[in-house]
């Protein structure tokens, strides 16, 4: 029983495929959010007990463990909670243009969202910085309606 670098076992192929499932997922919070975007609004769900606002909202509060369905509007401005400067894509290939990706907490929300921040030198981005959503001129009611974020 020792490591033998020269010995090779045979290899055979097999697959595990996530497309073999008919997943059921709760899409309510995502739909509320996407629909709100038509009106250039960030919509979440608020817990009446603890007051936490989730964006997108689940059907129950994780902390209070009660059903929640109060739709509330949040600001389309928010705070950078954290960020990074993407320099390679998801496969690890270097990107020609570096991109600031930030965790943003919309004012009035208790959860964070990931968005791309433009209009600033990446090295000047700071945690705690205020940013605002820049909307498409004509919104369609989907998550692509926010074009980018820019510093306020």
């Amino acid at each position: 029983m020792a490591y033998n670098k020269d010995l090779e076992t045979r290899e055979v192929q097999a697959t595990w495929d996530v497309t073999t499932y008919q997943y059921k997922l709760d899409g309510r919070g995502a739909k509320v959010l996407a629909d709100g975007m038509k009106e250039k609004t960030i919509r979440g769900i608020k817990c009446p007990q603890c007051g936490r606002v989730y964006v997108p909202g689940p059907t129950y509060c994780r902390v209070c463990y009660i059903d929640i369905d109060d739709v509330v509007d949040c600001s389309d401005e928010g705070v950078v909670m954290s960020y990074c400067i993407e320099m390679a894509d998801v496969r690890g290939n270097p990107m020609d243009e570096h991109r600031v990706s930030a965790m943003i907490k919309f004012d009035g929300a208790d959860t964070w969202f990931i968005g791309t921040v433009h209009g600033i030198d990446p090295m000047d981005v700071k945690i705690g910085m205020k940013v605002k959503a820049i909307w498409k001129d004509v919104t369609e009611g989907n998550l692509g309606d926010i074009q980018r974020f820019e510093p306020v």
Binding site: M1, A2, Y3, N4, D6, L7, T9, A14, W16, V18, Y21, Y23, L25, D26, G27, G29, A30, K31, L33, A34, Y54, V55, G57, P58, R62, S82, Y83, C84, I85, E86, M87, A88, D89, V90, R91, G92, P94, M95, H98, R99, S101, M103, D110, T111, W112, F113, I114, G115, T116, P122, I127, A133, I134, N142, L143, G144, D145, I146, Q147, R148
Partner: protein, 413 residues
Amino acid sequence: MIMSNVAIAGVGYTPVFVSKRKDVNIAEMISESVATALENTGLTPDDIDAVTFGNMQTFEGLNMPHLWSAEHILAVDKPTIRISTGGTTGMSTLQAAYYYVASGLYDIVMAVSWEKQSEGDSQVGLAGIVMPEAMVMVQHGLDLFGGGGLSAMGGGSTGAASFQAMSYLHHSGADPEHIDKMAALERSNAALNPYAHLRKKTSVEDIQATPFIAWPLRFGHTCPTSDGATTCIVMSEEKVRKMTDGNVAWITGLGSATSDPSTANFLEGQLTDPAEQEPARIASAKAYKMAGIKDPSRELDMAEMYNGFAHQSLMWLEKLGCCKEGEAHKLLDAGALNIDGEIPTNASGGVFSTNAIGASAMNRPAECALQIMGKIEGGHKIPKKIRKAVSHGWGGMFQYVTVMVLADEPMKS
């Protein structure tokens, strides 16, 4: 109320942890660690009462692999349980062995953990965590690969780890160079460890020569994917007295806790900052209380933590109470985290240098146990006597933490 003392009596690793073991198949590879654990404890297969077994099965695309590995893990005709909790799987599997013995149900339990990442697709495995959730958001117009205002895969290939690193730097006052320094320290520790995967003495300059993936994280801050297996043999106090020379590592405290998944743009908003890691506090507080540790920053002699990325060692030291918030990088600068420092941190090189993912969180307590028993093979043996050690696992989707405290003496009843 602890009903009985439980110890790790022995550890068995595969002969190596490398990118690709071509000379053995999965079952053969696992059996190497099992046989070594028996050899190291002088036990025979008949001595084992039960087996706990864990890996991350979607990484190899194999459902319930213990079924056809039963012979190779010496499980045939024995009670056997499969545990899987993500990155924490190794420690969760060891914790199950602890509870099996502490419950009085069994006296000697073998905990087996492994991964043969070369036989699967780690990216498929990882994507499988949130793929359906991401797809719902894509249906709602989310740009999966970024570039749009809202992007699903923000953070590039390091994902939320980059956000975690930046948030950690901001709140701790550490500089990005501290991540380089921690990376160099752990890679150099790994160079001394014959069971480490990436074994090359590495300088801060070497790390800084690697490209950034997503600032502040570089390629040199990320862990490898490895093939390897680890087995621990867990024993009741009575069996330790009867069947060993008494040189064992006692499990004096343990805990686990979960928060919510780091699902940022996937379906439901997340409440917690990825650098917050409240579960680490919850789980460690419980483990320390059980172990009678009042001030972990003074009482612990070493720490082995789950660090898929180099900044995490510093972060976990603080979250596990090994030092105050914002002080880990000062300890690093002072040399306190070195193998011969006050709180040697990942003397093994950590997950950051060796990552057979299902085994990764078992290697942490296993390393602590070997240091306590004085049985470390290689130059990463900590020179001082180790009496109390903390080990830690991290998994789920950024949300789950396991902790195990080990000591050279059992708890007094």
